[in-house]
Structures are given as C-alpha cells and as structure tokens.
Amino acid sequence: MRKVAILGVGQTKISEHWGMSLKELAAEAIFAALEDAGRSSIDGLFIGNMLSGSLNKQENLGVLLPDWAGLTPVEGVKIETACSSGGSAIRTGLIAVASGELDSALVVGVEKMSDAKLLETTSALATAADADYETAHGLSFVALNALIMQRYLHEYNWNHADFAPFSVVAHQNGVRNPNARLQTKITEQEYQDSRMIAKPINLLDASPIGDGAAAVVLVAADEFQNNGNSNLVHILASAAATDTLSIHDRKDPLWLSASEISARRAYSQAGIQPEDIDLFELHDAFTIMSALSLEACGFAPRGQGPRMGQDGDIAPFGKLPISTFGGLKARGHPVGATGVYQIVELVKQLRGEAGKNQVDRAHIGMAQNIGGSGATAVTHILQGI
C-alpha cells in the first residue's frame, strides 16, 4: 500500500447558513481545499454525510456534488456511519489512494441541518440508534448518552461538576476560531447552572448542531514529498472499528471498545505509543464522551478520564491538548462533516498555521471520530514535515 498525505484543506464557518444549500456549502469547502492544494482536478470525491435524505430530502450526493462543483465525470460516493461519516469518508478516500486505484481523492464532509425543524432533527439523529429497540421506545440521542453518563457518575463516584473542564476548555478554544459555531467563553459556574436537557446532561455538556462543510485533498505521499512542499501532512495511521449498535448489548456500557480497538490499531500502524501524541482532536459530542475517549485511547485509566480535565492536561498548553479549535462542543457538530473538520484542524496545527490556537511542539496529532453512542470509531494519526 502507498503512503498517503494531505495536500490541501478547506472549511466553511459552522453556523445556521439560511442562505446556503447543502451543495453550496460543500462546494465552498471543496474549492477552498483544491485552492490550498494548488490543484484544479481530482480523481474521486468521497462525501461524508448522514442526514441529507431525511433533513434535505436529497440523496445521490455522489452525483449532486461533482455536478454542482463542476467536477463531473469524476466518480462520487456518499459514506454514512452516523456521526463518524466524515472520518469514514476520509478513511475510504485514503484506501482508494493507498491502493493505487486513484492518484488523488477529495474528501468532503457536509451537513445542512437548518432546513428542518428541531423535532425532525432530533428524530433524524436518533436513527443512528437501533430503530426497533431504542428509538421505538422514545430514546433520543442525548438520552442514550445520558444513560451512559448517569451510570458513570454512579460507578466511579464523580460529580457532574467534575466534567466542567471539558466544556470550559472547548469554549475557550472556540473563542479564537473564526469558523466555530460558538465563540463565547463560559465559566465553571455557568456550566453547572446550565439548563438540564437529559439528566445529568445539561446544555453545556452537549455539542451544538449546525450547517458546515470541510474538505481535504489526499494524494500519494511519494509523489510530493521530494518537491519541498512544506504544506504536506502525512497520514501515519488510519483505523476503524465497530461495537454493538445498542448500549444495552455491550458487556460494559461504560467502555468504548471500538474506540480502544481503532486507537490501538492506529498506534501500531504508526509505530508509536499514546505518549507520542502531541494533540488529540477527540469526539466531544458530550462531555462524557471526552472522558470515555481519553480512557479508551490509553490516555487515562478506566474511570479516571475527568481527572485529565481537573489536572489541566487537556488545556492548550497541557500534556495533551484536545479540541484545540473548540471541538464538537464549541466549533460545532455538523454531524457528517465533523470528522473532516477534525482532520482539517489537525493539519493546521501540524503545519503551524493554527494562529492563536497553535499548540506547542505539534508534530504528531490524532483525531478520533465516533459514530452512534460509541458504535463506530475511526482513528487517524497525522504527522507534519
């Protein structure tokens, strides 16, 4: 298999883009990534998206986007794995280039959520869970995460307030990201006083949805690395794993085994240990997911994820900065686009182009995109030049 590198990245601001359609959002990110890569053509388009069929009444994105972006007859395909659709699209594009089948691939993650009412969106998001045994009983996606968090607090004796740093740090980082959905600081007190949405999860535990698109250009690394292209970021590892769709089918509902397995595979591909990771874009859809991800990926002992927040490890100049552009919590969570945003942000950090969000010694970065309540995990490890 050939080594694959990222040659260009692009993104839109995450917002309620009332004036823009799904295809216009996607095209903005696609053109930005192509321009950044210094290219006008591409061999394949891989699209991460979850909800176009239900919220936009539009499927067949594999044609809609090449058509709109003037890329036909390039092949296009939509990849869907719920909230990890973006990560899965990156991995699919990477496999295409690594295999030699394509010389370049453009991966775009896009979600256009403000076309639908909140009620429809809540229902559409719940389709990530089991239709027969979870959603049929009135479970929302928030409720499923709340069931995990409630048990976690009970099992490991944490208080809800102990999760504040995950939210506070993400918001702090979001302030300095002009593309973030939320660009306001919050205090620990505001976190604790926030409106309850599914006990123990309150509004400031949860990531906001939004409209957004992000894109990356993937190329075979060998062809470019001798050109002295300092923009090139290498993909050292790419791994995905699944767990049961439903929480109730897991032997241990408080352990993200897909996250653990995909991270382990990624460390082994890259030939590194968790200690070698300089920054981690994790899937902080809810604060509990931050804690569980840190544990599953080997950064914290079981049940001790919140400690890394307490100790300041996750802050921009801590041991393992996370959510450096705001994460899902503040940058926002345009579901199928999120995994591509994570990669775009890692690339900016590793190129040293993160501006006020730049972390020190950013050589090796990891991103992990999670679909469902831990059902899919896609892990990528990147290295700058």
Partner: protein, 137 residues
Amino acid sequence: MEIPRHWRLKQQRYKLVGEVCPHCEAKLFPPRDICPDCGGEAKQLYTFSGRGEVYSHTTVYDAPAGFEENAPYTVALVKLEEGPLVTAQLTDLGEQDVEIGTPVEMVTRRLRTDGDERGMLVYGYKFRPRLERVNQI
C-alpha cells in the same frame, strides 16, 4: 405507518420473548442470530420474567417526533434478572424517585400513536417500580 415492523416485533413488545443460546445457555434480549457470548447460532426462544432493576436512567425533555405529547418521560437501561440489559421507558412512577438499583417489572403500555387520529396505537413493554405482592390465601 410501521404496521409490518410492529407485527414482526409483537412477541418481543408484548411478552419480552428473547432467546436462549443452545450452545452456552446465554439468555439474549433483544434476540439476535448469533450468540455474542460463544459465536454459535441462537434461535431458541426464551420468555423473560420481566423482572429486573434500574441500571441507569434519565428524563427526556426534547422528545423525538411521535413522543412529544408524553414529554417529559423517564427512560432507563433495565438489568433483567436473567442478565441482559433492556432499553425502555419507566412508567407508573407517581411521586417515586427513580434510582439506580430500583426493582422494576415489565408492563404493557402504549408507546405512541403511529400516524394521525386514525393511526395505529403502538403498544409495547415499559417498566414500573415492582409492586409488593400480597400472598394469596
């Protein structure tokens, strides 16, 4: 309207019928084709007692479509006494506070109305705090 789906699931929704693995005797709910414990084929039906305790719980305020009229409502992961976890709503709570460990039992209740006022009423399992039984004379 999801009449075929509901018809297909009637054994599970009305009676909590799952499976017992013929190879390793693991009790499975919901039923599945392959036993997660031993990897063997699991096809033998098994009716659960419906008794268990609350493993975790939360309250839904922003309900998905079809459930708005019931909000807020309490949902739980229930640990059945035969082993499996089930995701379900809790009902008949009155003033009682739900806690992890609260003993519960299965009852049949309306889950939602599928469609308009002429639509199908979908019934299925929910769990209520276990009632004290008076010994029969």
